[in-house]
Amino acid sequence: MTFTNISNNAECLCLRDSYADVVNIFARKVRKAPDMKEGDFRSNFEKDRLPATDSCDDVCGIHGVSIEIWNEESAVTLLEKYQTTANYSPKYKNNLSIFKLKDGAGVVKYTPNQKEYNKFHYDLYKEDFFTIDHLDLIEMIPLIPTKDA
């Protein structure tokens, strides 16, 4: 896998401690259902956003796509958090995609130190030629009950 989109635009070793993971299940909120769209997996860098500081945590953070591990320990907590969010911001990303990475999707890095500590948080560094087909959708959960998934 190649990551020149990241390495050419960051003077930090962002991929250090990252690894391919096609076993674990992850979650990320998305706008549209029932299928996932590439637009929902854009990094902040791809949205022309700048890091808050020059620290490598912030610099690498804008190149990663935030995802959270979805397992027995995390599922209830995360779902509760997302549903609480939907109470206040019902329009924004009101579906939750549950998926696995396929071979060649990219690598993940455990990054719990966010603005608010999040022990389930990972960054996904997408491979240069990542497409949405590199993700294997397991389930799409609507976060607003009356809304069709």
Binding site: L50, A86, N87, Y88, P90, Y92
Partner: protein
């Protein structure tokens, strides 16, 4: 997509949080937050959406101290706060929190799918737990300079104490003996702080009382008397209480104390509360009247102190209180009575007691003049002769919701029984 246009752009600094910023819910972005602007107004806001340029849109509104307190007490949702706000701002910010534009948008123009859901209450971990820690913040005159004349402060302390003590008389039916404590003031404000603690009397401990239900009732009851009663319909306490949804809500809270202990509420609950509301409103009227005649303050903001020492307002009491409530409650007015007749010797009467103070012997009861269901509401006065009221016919009637026969001197005013004086 939320449509914003340049005519809605405002330069107002009202929606800009400059202090006390607190994130109540975070999920990728600060989703729900509070703070204060440069003028000291309380603000609440939420993340709304990303726009086409990936900038972040936030709703922000100014809320009153009362609404702020109610939100923290989970009495009002964020959705309802937005709905009732006079002015809703939409802030457009960059990812690194730089303000690009501020828009003033009427709530009616917000598309329905952007409006927070009905269950958009404060996250549970921030809810202020019901407590009996009350704070009375003196406002105006010297109090604004954090000063007060000693005599004024002593007098208002006593009047507030009387008001709180009177409000707790409603709990006597549960055998609860509350105590009101004065608490140290907080530096930098003129607040009089009180804490209420209560124990069930071991002599009257017929059933276990749920303290949380009692706390919830006392809070709702005090808020009713101080904030809602002035807005009730005229003379509503004189026979129209069941028409008031607010009064019914207080009554249901009172009944919940019985239900939580597997007890059926007595049939006299409404009378107990009407009587009690009148007495408490009278004490609060004394507080309000004092505001006209002292040199230290002219209004009082009532609130509770949460676990972090934060003052959460329930509303203001000012010198108008008495004039607003005096037509609605039953302040005694014997001066207008034409024909007052009392028994010359004690006679036998059938009564149902719904309130009695075991210390003073004062209370309230229904007096049944004959064998029918017809009754008069009377003031009961039991002269204890240093005896204990605990195991008397009067407490038996109160706790067992039972009509008893007692001997006493009744007073009739204009043909209606009004008072019964008994001896223990």
């Amino acid at each position: 997509m939320l449509k914003l246009n340049s005519t809605q752009i405002t330069n107002s600094e009202l929606p800009i949080i400059v202090d006390n910023y607190k994130v109540l819910h975070f999920d990728e972005y600060p989703i729900l937050f509070t703070g204060t602007n440069k003028y000291g107004n309380k603000l609440i806001g939420s993340f709304c959406d990303e726009d086409d340029n990936y900038n972040l849109l936030y709703f922000v509104i100014i809320i009153s101290d009362k609404d702020f307190g109610d939100f923290y007490k989970k009495k009002i949702s964020y959705r309802d706060l937005l709905r009732k706000s006079n002015e809703l701002f939409v802030l457009e910010k960059t990812f690194d929190d730089r303000l690009l534009n501020s828009y003033s948008v009427p709530f009616s123009e917000i598309p329905v799918d952007y409006i927070p859901l009905e269950k958009s209450y404060i996250p549970q971990k921030f809810v202020v737990r019901e407590s009996l820690n009350y704070s009375f913040s003196l406002k105006g005159k010297l109090a604004d300079l954090h000063k007060g004349l000693v005599n004024d402060i002593n007098a208002i302390n006593t009047k507030i104490y009387d008001y709180l003590s009177e409000s707790l008389q409603a709990l006597s039916v549960f055998g609860i003996t509350p105590k009101v404590f004065s608490q140290p003031s907080i530096v930098g404000s003129y607040r009089l702080n009180f804490d209420i603690d209560f124990n069930q009397s071991s002599q009257l401990n017929f059933f276990e009382i749920d303290n949380i239900r009692v706390t919830e009732f006392v809070n709702q009851y005090l808020e009713y008397v101080s904030q809602t009663l002035p807005n009730e319909k005229g003379d509503f306490l004189l026979g129209h209480v069941e028409e008031s949804t607010n009064f019914i809500a207080v009554k249901e809270k009172f009944n919940e104390i019985f239900y939580s202990s597997n007890q059926e509420p007595p049939k006299t609950v409404s009378e107990m509360l009407v009587d009690s509301v009148s007495s408490v409103a009278e004490k609060l009227s004394n507080v309000s009247e004092f505001m006209k005649s002292n040199d230290s303050f002219n209004s009082i903001e009532v609130g509770v102190i949460n676990g972090n020492g934060q003052f959460l307002s329930s509303g203001i009491i000012d010198s108008e209180y008495k004039s607003l409530v005096e037509l609605k409650v039953q302040f005694p007015n014997l001066l207008e009575a034409v024909n007052v007749v009392s028994d010359e010797i004690p006679k036998s009467y059938r009564i149902l007691v719904y309130k009695i103070n075991s210390e003073s012997g004062k209370g309230g009861a229904r007096l049944y003049p004959d064998s029918s269901e017809k009754y008069y509401k009377i003031t009961l006065l039991v002269n204890k002769n240093k005896k204990d009221l605990s195991n008397s016919l009067f407490t038996e009637s109160l706790y067992e919701d039972k009509v008893v026969e007692v001997s006493g001197i009744a007073t009739m005013i204009d043909g209606s029984y009004k008072k019964l004086e008994c001896y223990l």
